[in-house]
Amino acid sequence: MIVVIDYGIGNLASVKNGLDKLGVESKISSDLLVIKKADTLILPGVGAAGQGMKNLKEKGLDKVIVEEIKMGKPFLGICLGMQLLFEKSEEGNVNCLRILKGQVKKFKKMRKVPQIGWNQVKIKQRSNLFKGIGNESYFYFVNSFYCLPKDQEVVAGVTNYGENFASIVIKDNILGVQFHPEKSGLVGFKLLENFVKGANYVG
């Protein structure tokens, strides 16, 4: 069972709808026991990092997420859900989950922020997750902030919006994507499908 973690932020219906379309069983939940029992976790989220972390902590979700990831459970962080994996976000100057090393920064070179729309991802790593996905495919983004990983080895996809940023990170059982795969057409679904079907991450 896949559990989409509900921490009272953003629009969870679209992620759930996406999983339904793939025909996989999933559940939206903030229940710690349900999360611990899940085979796979998805942390979605659109919104502010400060509010996101606050909500995670209030529900005790922050600790559980870290524990479950460390135990090797497949984990997908989408948009804010990816950013929260890092050490610190410039958005509200907030400490995040510290699972991945690096910071979350604001776009500074473009006049229009947030970035809204379809942008290309240059694939930097071989991974079974990218099976059936062309290099430089377009994905749907909505973000004002981006991840700046310390460890370049985790960067699996790069996108340019005034500056280059990590649009996909992969580390062990973790997949983080800055775009919304559930809204990124067939290509996005392919990635989601590869993830939920448990493709080995490193190709």
């Binding site: 229009k112 947030p114 942008n119 377009y138 990124s184 067939l186």
Partner: protein, 253 residues
């Protein structure tokens, strides 16, 4: 590079897509869910649904369309028409929309924008602005284009962004349905005045119009309705034309 978006607009009443000229003389253009699915397949980057009657009975029909569309399409879509409260917005988002557009409700009560942005994030809140030339300036018109607010379109756009609107859907009433081209001057002024993306709407008639609105109007996205509904141009034709002129557009796969 971030692609320029091509967005078909589905104006709806009583569960059917309709298209008018300058906000009147509507004709039927088909089933919304079917059309949405078709546009997704053709490579539309996003979809815009507007409930042009926005009565209480229509709201249930609209929500039904939203639910069905959310299950059928794999691209983002916004829904608007008669949104007056945070609870209206929540209902539409829960039905599966990605964004909600506000128009008259937000003009009368700008706090609606900040309340919605606070609850769901700015990226969910699209300001739908209908502008019409009055003298030298463009004024904001509300109530489906029937009422002149005497407020400048540019001023309202700036204010709405301050309140938290994440995007502006800018419709020129003067050019709407005329197929004589987008309102380049109005779009350029609004786009330069705000720091959020602007979707230009009203007047698309030929391929060249799309090039103009991106290159001269500084639009981030272009919207069209009848052109696509009645098969005069396909989304792919528009994108091929833009691509040949070095305007970045999303290609499928």
């Amino acid at each position: 590079m971030l692609a320029k978006r091509i967005i078909p607009c589905l104006d709806m009443t009583q569960g059917r897509v309709v298209k008018g000229i300058q906000f009147v003389n509507f004709r039927d253009a088909g089933d919304p869910v079917k059309l949405a699915k078709e546009y997704d397949k053709q490579g539309a980057d996003e979809l815009v649904f507007l409930d042009i009657t926005a009565t209480v009975e229509n709201r249930d029909i609209l929500l039904d369309v939203v639910r069905k569309t959310a299950k059928e399409v794999v691209i983002p879509f916004s829904v608007g028409g008669g949104v007056r409260t945070v609870s209206d917005m929540r209902t539409i988002l829960r039905a599966g929309a990605d964004k909600v557009s506000v128009n008259t409700g937000a003009f009368k009560n700008p706090k609606l924008i900040s309340d919605c942005a606070k609850e769901f994030g700015s990226q969910c809140v699209v300001l739908s602005l209908d502008g019409k030339k009055v003298g030298k300036d463009w004024n904001v018109f509300i109530n489906g284009g029937r009422t002149d607010t005497r407020v400048s379109a540019i001023d309202w756009a700036k204010k709405a962004v301050k309140f938290g609107a994440g995007e502006i859907l800018l419709t020129s009433i003067d050019t709407d349905g005329t197929k004589k081209g987008f309102n380049v001057a109005l779009t350029r002024q609004v786009s330069q005045a705000v720091s959020v993306p602007v979707i230009a709407s009203g007047g698309a008639g030929k391929l060249k119009d799309f090039v103009e609105i991106f290159n001269k109007g500084f639009a981030d996205a272009a919207l069209a309705a009848s052109l696509f509904h009645f098969g005069e141009l396909t989304i792919q034709e528009v994108k091929d034309y833009l691509n040949e002129r070095d305007i970045p557009v999303r290609s499928l796969l």
